[in-house]
């Protein structure tokens, strides 16, 4: 390579580097491919999931012949075929409080390619505790974000995710890609940016994306650059903080109360019976832009406004539906807590409903 500034020294740094990619999904796949191509010496990949058909539009490392196989096994095999020099480490399980510190300690740099707040806050906190820089990536709808967090600079407090959002948002407060869908190329762009920033951090070339949060809008093809700064209101993050934080549920008491509420998850046959009972109120909690439209009478209050509009709900049994039956569980729990009525959630959501109804016609 004869690119000015990118000589044998930079290549040498890459070959010595150890990078952990947490999440082998829409962000992790492209990040891995470019880091393997760049000749990063050791790459750890962590993901508990198996390849499913709904992954393929955005996880181009995988194909139809590999459905049901572990993502990390397939990804490691392809990485070795691309560049046999790279040492791959496979972690076929999800990151959690028991394994995060020990695994992250083995790496120089972490790429957060996860798709949920529990993992994102845990990665943030462990990296802060162990003083490891990490490249953050995330998507929401048509937008994606990238930033370099916790990169040390002499005399300056390194910025990390809790400076932006000190408290982890409630579980299920925000729909995931797997639920609402995403244009496959969007995580591809963000994951590729994460690899670019990792290469700059390792080689020391250029100015990494520190102290800035970059947000890309697919629809307008614009990047929105925000200068971020430290927030003094955040807690001290140390081993004790990590061990005593509950990453699985929101820290807010009202939210954790919701987690304990038992609601009835019903299948499509039970739903069809309930639907014909005029005493049961059917509530769709999908956002207004979500498809498909439904052909039976129902009310719609999007999840994003449910808490404020709770008073509009009638005092009778309520059956909640959404796309895949994830948000509806949380919505039914909220409704039962606040309205003290019977609350049901359609398991598998409208995806399951249309599968059954269409197959019987």
């Amino acid at each position: 390579m004869i690119l000015p500034g990118f000589g044998s020294e930079a290549q040498g740094k890459l070959s010595q580097a150890k990078v952990l990619i947490v999440g082998m999904g829409g962000l992790g796949c492209p990040a891995l491919q470019y880091l393997v191509g760049a000749g990063v010496g050791t790459i750890g990949i962590m993901d508990a999931d198996k390849i499913s058909k709904s992954n393929l539009h955005r996880q181009l490392l995988f194909n139809e012949n590999e459905l049901g196989l572990l993502k990390v096994s397939v990804a490691a095999k392809k990485a070795k075929a691309q560049n046999s020099f790279v040492q791959m480490e496979e972690y076929p399980f999800a990151i959690n409080q028991n394994n995060a510190t020990e695994i992250i300690a083995n790496y120089d740099l972490v790429i957060d390619a996860t798709d949920n707040f529990s993992a994102k806050y845990l990665i943030n906190d462990v990296c802060v505790w162990l003083k490891k820089p990490f490249v953050f990536g995330a998507v929401s709808g048509y937008e994606g974000q990238v930033a370099v967090f916790n990169s040390a600079k002499a005399g300056v407090v390194p910025i990390h995710y809790r400076h932006l959002f000190p408290v982890q948002p409630a579980v299920n407060e925000i729909a995931t890609c797997e639920e609402t869908g995403v244009v496959g190329v969007l995580p591809g762009i963000i994951g590729t940016m994460q690899a670019a920033e990792a290469i700059k951090l390792i080689t020391g070339i250029g100015n990494p994306l520190c102290d800035r949060l970059l947000t890309y809008d697919f629809l307008t093809a614009r990047w929105f650059d925000i200068e971020i700064n430290s927030n003094e209101e955040i807690p001290a993050i140390d081993e004790h903080f990590i061990n005593t934080t509950n990453y699985q549920i929101d820290c807010d008491m009202a939210e954790s109360d919701v987690e304990d509420i038992d609601i009835d998850e019903i299948d499509v046959s039970q739903f069809l019976e309930l639907k014909s009972d005029s005493n049961v109120f059917i509530l769709d909690v999908r956002e207004l832009h979500e498809y498909p439209t439904i052909d039976f009478s129902h009310a719609q209050i999007p999840m994003s406004t449910l808490k404020e509009l709770m008073h509009q709900l009638p005092a009778k049994p309520i059956c909640v539906i959404c796309h895949q039956g994830i948000r509806s569980v949380y919505a039914a729990q909220l409704i039962k807590l606040h309205k003290q009525v019977e609350a049901y959630s359609l398991r598998g959501g409208l995806t399951a409903y249309f599968n059954k109804v269409n197959n019987e016609q």
């Binding site: 990536g137 995330a138 937008e143 948002p169 925000i174 995580p187 925000i226 200068e227 406004t305």
Partner: protein, 77 residues
Amino acid sequence: MEIQVIFFGSIIDITNTNQIMINDCIDTQSLMNELIAQFPSIGNKKYFVAVNQKMIQTNTLLKTGDTVALMPPFSGG
């Protein structure tokens, strides 16, 4: 005095637009009061505020032509 307000992520689900113009708000606190009056659900959302592409932590004076962004957390991947 006109201020441009830009929305991101899940906040667009509430506003159904990614930007609006707001008049006569002298600072970010009065601007947020006005926004929450127009879109009550924003009041329950987590977000940080940036003025002219710089994150702010405290109430900040605004002037004509300023751009205020409301940035919620993103978690998808």
